[in-house]
């Protein structure tokens, strides 16, 4: 009975010492981290080269939010958000690249309208507001017309990160061409045009947006000729 008690005590002590040593002992070795360099500027391209965080890499050039980096022997593409994993990469250069890759607020746009017209324009910031300038051109022939406008674009809802709803108001200059009576039923003289619209833009890529816009344009003369349209909008963030 006494022997059994001694055996149990020694076993219990051994277990306690072993447990304590397992808890307090440092890990034998930390898992080695590798940073993958890809064959192209997208996660769809395969990793062709791996480096340790202490490898000295130099950035050759940037495309969007990806940079091509080399260690002098091999090269590959790396996202700017992963540059901080490189311990030897200069911090100031890192922040400059991250900042340069950030999408800007100047957004050129291309529009196709249900009025058989196309438009080119640009949205740009001014005093924390988004303004836009746009030139719309109607189809060639008897109904040829154009509209040059300048206005304000204001976001009013963002239900999810990549989807933005906005309204817009603009003042423009409408012109009939080749005898068209699109804006004015009597003369070809240019007329002032006011437009109001709403749009939904979806950010499909870091620098690219696609959306739809509904718009009403009314001449600011006694005729008050009104045209309604729906448009497809493509925008690039510079």
């Amino acid at each position: 009975m006494i022997q059994a008690h001694r055996l149990f005590t020694s076993l219990a002590l051994t277990m306690i010492v072993l447990s304590a040593s397992l808890v307090s002992a440092p890990r034998a070795s930390a898992e080695q981290v590798y940073i993958g360099l890809r064959n192209g500027p997208s996660e769809a391209f395969p990793v062709i080269y791996e480096v340790t965080p202490r490898r000295h890499l130099e950035v050759i050039y940037r495309r969007g939010s990806w940079v091509k980096a080399t260690d002098g022997r091999s090269s590959g593409w790396l996202h700017v958000d992963d540059l901080h994993l490189l311990e030897t990469f200069p911090r100031d250069e890192l922040w400059k690249l991250v900042n340069d890759a950030r999408p800007g607020r100047v957004r050129p746009e291309f529009v196709l309208s249900s009025l058989d017209a196309y438009a080119v324009g640009v949205v740009f910031p001014l005093f924390s507001q988004d303004l836009f300038a746009r030139y719309t051109r109607g189809p060639e022939g008897e109904t040829s017309w154009s509209l040059t406008e300048f206005g304000l674009l204001n976001d009013f809802a963002r239900p999810v990160d990549d989807l933005v709803f906005s309204w817009s108001g603009a003042l423009g200059y409408g012109k009939d061409q080749q005898g068209s009576r699109f804006w004015d039923s009597e003369t070809d003289d240019p007329v002032w045009v006011g437009t109001a619209g709403a749009e939904a833009m979806w950010r499909v890529d870091r620098y690219f947006e696609i959306g739809v816009r509904g718009e009403v344009a009314t001449t600011l003369n006694s005729e008050m000729t009104t045209h309604r349209s729906a448009s497809l909008v493509w925008r690039v963030r510079l």
Binding site: G40, S42, A44, G64, L97, D205, Y207, F208, V236
Partner: protein
Amino acid sequence: MKRKLILSACALMASLSPSALAEVYSPGNQSNGLDALEDTPVQHGMLGAGYANTLSTNNDAQPGMLFTGRYFAGEKWYLLGELQFGTFSTRAVVQNGEEVRSDDEEMLRYSAGAGYALLQGTASTSGARAVPWVIAAELTAGEQNSGDTSGRYASLGTSVQFHGDRIWTALGVREFLVDDERLQSLESDGGTQWDISLGMWF
């Protein structure tokens, strides 16, 4: 009283001397030094030139030159601009005694649109060198002038691109439509185009 006023004026003058002004704290804009760093070269897109062949319905295959510009709008999207010119007709067509298509008509097309990289990967023959490739869908709209008439142009196609370090090459195939009334009457308002291009980054 007068003496006190003069002394006060002298003290004020002394306090406004240049040495005193220099000690006034006047903060300026601080620089974080990032502006002093050299800009990293940026690849904005691809410029190319090549040979294009247009096969409209009820027409012979017509050669031409194609100039393209692609501007990267993200990892997979890019904007596309194209300019193509070449011959449109080398064989006259007469309908009801009237020549509706002559035998020396030229074609000029310009269009813009977008491309989306459907597949991206790596090609290698030896294993020593790997070349990225991209298969993209491209949609464009624009205008086509054919002889003396014109119409709006729309196309949908694919482009297979191989991206080298300094140059790239691409093969493209597309279906197109033109809403030109004369071409519609000739039933030549659509067809297939293929092209091969070589270009550089900008």
